[in-house]
């Protein structure tokens, strides 16, 4: 009854439906027994436009029975399936149930394949061409929206093909990242660092850490203010994968390596979320996916991308 704001509409639909069906039956019955007077020339007797007459050729009797069968079918259908207001039908059929059936069927079809890989070591899975092809398709479906089809990421979305990892690039850590998701959080540090000038100095110091051109005077001032960052990024700025704190000494930048961008990061902080796929994909699929992602930045990947065979269509 939740579908309707009051019981009236439920009843309204039921009454209209049932009356319409029964009305068809009554009409059919009355017309089949009713006898029409007609001229012996087989017309209805009406004449239009001087000479147009209508033939009164009877319909075949089996046709009438088909009509009756249709009515019976409609009634039986409405008892078995939903159709009368909010009545659910004797069979309890639901479109979502159909979807679940399809899912169960797909799981039964592909489950054994994923189970086979789930029992293998992630690096072994990564070297399997078929698993690679499956992983690639899953990546294109579930991951490419943020990380790009080529997995090279975007501003704010990590590149998965380099050797730089926020939380660690071991296969098991990648799997954990996909399973549980990650929350990347850099708090706004403007107040802790100090004045606008201090922020600019720190930004230049951070640039210098990765060997980018930076103002040497600002760098030396910034170095003294870098203490505010040490808790997460470490004294040398090498980051901390346990916290998800980025390494500042490489040339990989999640948001950009210009002084302006770094200053904005310091002032406002950054918040990133990688969603959890555990409930959605399940362990076995994530296993194959994690192996694929790991292979993107590691050599034991099967030959090269071009060698992975296409999806054979039965």
């Amino acid at each position: 009854m939740a579908d309707f704001t009051s019981g009236f509409w439920d009843l309204y639909i039921i009454v209209i439906t049932v009356l319409a069906i029964l009305g068809c039956g009554v009409l059919l019955w009355s017309q089949s027994t009713h006898k029409v007077e007609a001229g012996s020339d087989g017309t209805t007797g009406h004449v239009w436009d001087e000479n147009l007459t209508e033939l009164n050729t009877p319909l075949p009797r089996w046709w009438m029975w088909l009509f009756y069968i249709t009515i019976v079918f409609a009634l039986v259908y409405l008892v078995l399936y939903p159709g009368l207001g909010s009545y659910a039908g004797k069979l309890g059929w639901k479109s979502s149930g159909e979807y679940q059936q399809e899912l169960a069927k797909a799981d039964a079809d592909y489950g054994p394949l994923f189970a086979k890989y789930a029992s293998q070591d992630l690096k072994a899975v990564a070297a399997d061409p078929q698993a690679h092809a499956i992983g690639e398709r899953m990546f294109l479906t579930y991951c490419a929206q943020c990380h790009g089809s080529d997995a090279r990421g975007n501003k704010g979305y990590p590149d998965l093909t380099d050797k730089d990892w926020l939380h660690g690039g071991e296969p098991s850590v990648i799997k954990e990242t996909i399973m549980k998701g990650r929350n990347g959080m850099m708090p706004p540090m403007g107040a802790a660092v100090g004045s606008e000038a201090d922020i600019e100095n720190v930004a230049h110091y951070v640039k210098s850490l990765s060997g980018l051109t930076a103002d040497p005077i600002k760098v030396s001032f910034g170095k003294t203010k870098f203490g505010a960052c040490i808790a997460c990024h470490g004294p040398g700025g090498v980051g901390n994968q346990a916290l998800g704190a980025p390494n500042l000494t490489d040339k990989v930048w999640l948001y950009g390596g210009s002084a302006e961008t770094i200053m904005e990061t310091i002032r406002k902080g950054r918040t990133n979320t990688m969603p959890s796929f555990q409930a959605f994909l399940g362990d076995a699929k994530v296993h194959v996916l994690a192996a694929y992602v790991w292979s993107l930045s590691n050599d034991p990947a099967p030959a090269n991308l071009a060698a992975a065979p296409g999806v054979a269509q039965k």
């Binding site: 017309q31 089949s32 009713h34 006898k35 029409v36 007077e37 007609a38 001229g39 012996s40 020339d41 087989g42 009164n56 009877p58 319909l59 075949p60 009797r61 089996w62 046709w63 009438m64 092809a133 690639e136 398709r137 294109l140 490419a144 929206q145 943020c146 990380h147 790009g148 089809s149 080529d150 997995a151 090279r152 975007n154 501003k155 979305y157 090269n304 991308l305 071009a306 060698a307 992975a308 065979p309 296409g310 999806v311 054979a312 269509q313 039965k314």
Partner: protein, 467 residues
């Protein structure tokens, strides 16, 4: 008769079917119809058994969405060819109907063909027309029961074989046969064999002319394709009337006054839809020409020229045209236009099919980023190449990209695809910043099979240089 005209009569709105007992017609047109029965059935029953390249030659694999037709594999993307085929079939029907009326109905329509087969069985088991009428009027006896059961059994066997052959177009015939023996078919296979068998049995055994009269949509609109020069089965009223039995004692004068029709009713008895062609063209007439055969046979016996009932046209009847004149009128404007259109469409269809490349390419630009700057002042865009190798053999494909100076592929330029397989291939394309205008630039991807350069497809795409 006059009394009935003044007295109102009562007509029931739904009439029970009246059994029609068509007499067997023998002659030119009956032989032609049997030839059509043989040809259509040899093709229909036999085609699934043909093999080609180690697979069934004609197989519509709905599960895998692949239509195998001899050397060709059609994918859902090739649906346009089905549309073209239907247009060709429609135009062929218009053309044939404009020239020769309902010859399709009378000679090649499945309803006619299966009815012919079922009536042949009926004749073999229950006897000729008079014997069948007698049998139906008899009270039930052991003989009647045996004959009726034998007939329905034989009908059932033909119907089941027809259902089986139908399903064999959608499921491999050999495993289908083996699985039937082992009762190991899927529910849908059982359903369609049963359904098609039931439809054959019902339509050819029971409904017969009712299908043509009440169910067939074609019967309803084909009169729109008729004109006064369309060949139809007609009774030559001028020559036949006044009709009357042959009277050996008639004087020469009496014989002269009488028409050639001896009112033997043969034309009515052989008619599968139970009409009297002597009343003129009726929509129930399926143009099967059984009455022509019957009448010619009678004319031969009484030594009169054939053709009292014959294929002719309205105009020819009215204006007493010769056969030659009828033939000349076949090439009228309408027929010529139909023919020209048909030739055009068939030629287009054939060319398209012959030039069809069993390789498809879709380019999907990554929407996540417009374009990014990478080292050395290059701008990079990411694309997903959806490659479909619709042939049955695998190939290595080389990807080329063109359209802007310095445009190049930054990912491997080769992709391996098995036969009948698809692949979504992520590729990166790079352009020197100075080479392209800001905003969108047109580029083109080209995919070529390394071992077969004729296997090439091109697809346009857009390269975006961020502002």
């Amino acid at each position: 008769m006059t009394e009935a005209a003044t007295k109102p009569v009562v007509i029931r709105m739904y009439a029970a079917r009246e059994e029609i007992y068509p007499r067997e017609a023998k002659g030119r047109y009956a032989s032609l119809r049997w030839a059509c029965v043989w040809i259509t059935q040899i093709v229909f029953y036999g085609l699934p058994w043909l093999n080609w390249n180690g697979r069934q030659a004609v197989l519509f694999d709905l599960g895998a969405r692949k239509f195998y037709i001899f050397g060709m594999v059609l994918w859902p993307q090739d649906f346009i060819y089905l549309a073209a085929l239907l247009i060709i079939a429609a135009y062929l029907l218009f053309l044939v109907t404009a020239i020769a009326g309902r010859v399709w109905c009378g000679f090649a329509c499945p309803q006619t063909v299966y009815t012919e087969i079922f009536m042949w069985i009926e004749r073999k088991i229950e006897g000729a027309r008079s014997a069948r009428i007698r049998l139906d009027r008899q009270p039930w006896s052991a003989d009647k029961l045996a004959r009726k059961s034998a007939k329905h059994l034989a009908w059932g066997v033909v119907a089941l074989f027809t259902g089986f052959s139908f399903v064999a177009y959608f499921a491999p015939v050999r495993s289908l046969l083996a699985n039937i023996g082992a009762f190991a078919l899927g529910p849908w296979e059982w359903f369609w064999i049963g359904f098609y068998a039931f439809a054959t049995y019902g339509n050819a055994g029971w409904l017969r002319e009712q299908v043509c009269k009440y169910m067939c949509p074609y019967a309803r609109f084909q009169s729109a394709m008729f004109d006064k020069d369309t060949l139809i089965v007609t009774y030559d009223q001028e020559r036949g009337e006044p009709r009357g039995a042959l009277n050996p004692k008639a004087t020469a004068e009496q014989a002269e006054a009488k028409g050639d029709c001896i009112d033997c009713n043969m034309c009515v008895q052989v008619c599968p839809t139970g009409i009297d062609i002597r009343k003129g063209l009726q929509y129930e007439c399926i143009g099967c020409a059984a009455c022509v055969d019957a009448c010619n046979g009678v004319m031969d016996k009484i030594d009169l020229p054939r053709g009292l009932i014959r294929y002719s046209t309205d105009n020819a009847m009215d204006k007493k045209w010769s056969a030659k004149r009828i033939g000349q009128r076949i090439l009228r404007t309408r027929v010529l236009i139909y023919t020209a259109l048909l030739v055009l469409i068939v030629a287009g269809f054939g060319t398209a099919l012959a030039l069809r490349t069993p390789l498809k390419l879709d380019v999907i630009r990554d929407r996540g980023s417009m374009g990014r700057e990478v080292g050395d002042g290059m701008i990079e865009n990411v694309y997903r190449l959806q490659i479909m190798n619709t042939a049955e053999t695998g190939h290595t494909f080389r990807i080329k990209v063109s359209g802007i100076d310095s445009v190049k592929l930054a990912t491997p330029d080769e992709a391996v695809l098995d036969g009948a397989s698809t692949r979504a291939l992520p590729v990166r394309v790079q352009v020197e910043r100075s080479a392209a205008a800001r905003g969108s630039n047109h580029i083109e991807f080209e995919l070529t099979a390394v071992d077969d350069p004729s296997l090439t497809v091109r697809e346009k795409a857009v390269f975006i240089v961020p502002k």
